[in-house]
Structure formats: structure tokens, C-alpha cells
């Protein structure tokens, strides 16, 4: 059955739990490597995500403890993809309300329309819920997929 608005699969390669990061750049780089390892993007997408934050500030920290790292669709995106990185020690992105970040959700969309659809799906997961807290505490990849409602 074709259900195009659902989130893409999240294989083990796209999940890094209790990662160590010295700063927000390393956290986003880790998420970028996970996206690449899962086959969704080329390595350059991590650089694109970091440039977005350098250019526009830490606006990607959209809720307490959660950064939604992303860049525009482009040649670095092979297909829609997700990555989840939880941090052993939270890091500061410089956000006035939502620091420190415990969970980085990296998102790649094959097109702008698709990217917006994915974001809408993500909004459904995180609205009025304790999903960030549960992701931050997740012990294994299966638990992460369960919280997001995605297949491997």
C-alpha cells in the first residue's frame, strides 16, 4: 500500500545512542554520518546541515532538548531519510529557550514537498508528548523505532 506521507524506514545505521559530542557541530556531524550510513545522503549533507545553523542560528532547536537538523533537498540527498542521535552529555546549540540538546533528529527529504510532508509527520509524533524524553532515554534501536512508529 502506498502511504506517501509516512516517515521513511530507520535502519540501525541511522541510530546512534549515547553519542559523545564536544559541541553542536560534532553532534550534527554524527547525525550526518548516520544519515549517510543509512544510505539516505552523501557525506556532504552533514556540511550542508551545519551551514544552515551557521547561517541562521540555532533555530533548529525546536523544542526543549530536541534539534531538528536538516538542509535543503539537493544532490547530496539520495532518498528520504531519518537519523536519530542521542547524546551521553547534552550540548548547547546557543538557543535561548530549548538548550541543552539531548536528541538530534536529522532529516533529509528528496524534494521540498516531500521534506514538508516528513516534517508534518514529525510534528504528529512530537506534539504534546514526551517523545523527546523517551528518545533521550531509549536503550536500543528497536525502542527508538517504536517511539517514532517507523520500520527498520
Amino acid at each position: 500500500m502506498d502511504r506517501p506521507t509516512e516517515l521513511p524506514p530507520l535502519p540501525d545505521e541511522g541510530i546512534v545512542l549515547a553519542a559523545r559530542a564536544r559541541d553542536w557541530r560534532e553532534a550534527v556531524e554524527t547525525a550526518g554520518r548516520a544519515l549517510t550510513a543509512s544510505g539516505a545522503t552523501d557525506a556532504g549533507y552533514a556540511t550542508d546541515m551545519i551551514r544552515m545553523i551557521e547561517a541562521h542560528g540555532p533555530y533548529v532547536v525546536v523544542a526543549p532538548g530536541l534539534a531538528l537538523a536538516h538542509a535543503r533537498p539537493g544532490p547530496a540527498v539520495r532518498r528520504d531519510g531519518l537519523a536519530i542521535v542521542t547524546l551521553a552529555e547534552p550540548v548547547e546549540f546557543g538557543h535561548p529557550y530549548n538548550d541543552p540538546v539531548r536528541v538530534v533528529l536529522a532529516l533529509a527529504g528528496a524534494s521540498s514537498a516531500r521534506h514538508l510532508q516528513l516534517v508534518a509527520e514529525i510534528a504528529n509524533i512530537f506534539n504534546d508528548s514526551d517523545a523527546v524524553e523517551r528518545l533521550a532515554e531509549a536503550r536500543d534501536a528497536a525502542e527508538v523505532r517504536g517511539i517514532l512508529g517507523v520500520p527498520a
Binding site: 533548529v60 525546536v62 523544542a63 521534506h115 516534517v119 512530537f126 506534539n127 504534546d128 508528548s129
Partner: protein, 90 residues
């Protein structure tokens, strides 16, 4: 009525704000066109916009405007969004 949601790429965090603003507006019974944009689209979209929803990073970018600028803290908290939209539109 037109409402803008503004972020860096116009497809990520502004998309969250668009989805959640539409949800809240429906709850409030308010009919509005919600458009997700990035800063480069601002000049073309600003004239007839009544409200701009965005994060604290983008307030300076917007500059002078007749629109109500609403700074959102938690993009996933529809209760916060509803409270702030009610104040702006009330």
C-alpha cells in the same frame, strides 16, 4: 487572512509551525492561509501578511512590519501556539 511561518530553509522548522498553526486555527475556527517561507521569500510575502510565526533568531531579519510577529519557543507545543495566536488575532 495570511499567516507566514519563517525559518532558515523554508521547509523544516517553518513546516512544523505551518502544520501546527493550521491545527490550532482549525480548533479556533479561524480561516487563514498559512505559508511556510525562508528569509529570501519574506519581501515578496510580507505585504498582506497579518501574522508571522517564527523563532527568536529571525526577528531582526523581519525588521519593520505591520504584521504581528509571534516568537515561538517550543515548536511542538500547540497550547503555546494557540495562546499566542489568540492574543494576536483576538
Amino acid at each position: 487572512m495570511k499567516i507566514l511561518t519563517l525559518c532558515g530553509a523554508g521547509i523544516g522548522t517553518s513546516g512544523i509551525l505551518k502544520v501546527n498553526a493550521e491545527r490550532v486555527l482549525q480548533r479556533l475556527g479561524i480561516d487563514a492561509d498559512v505559508v511556510a517561507i525562508d528569509a529570501s521569500m519574506l519581501a515578496a510575502q510580507l505585504d498582506d501578511a497579518q501574522v508571522i510565526l517564527t523563532g527568536p533568531e529571525f526577528v531582526e531579519t523581519i525588521g519593520r512590519t505591520f504584521a504581528d510577529v509571534i516568537v515561538v519557543e517550543n515548536y511542538f507545543d500547540t497550547a503555546e501556539l494557540q495562546r499566542k495566536l489568540e492574543v494576536a488575532l483576538g
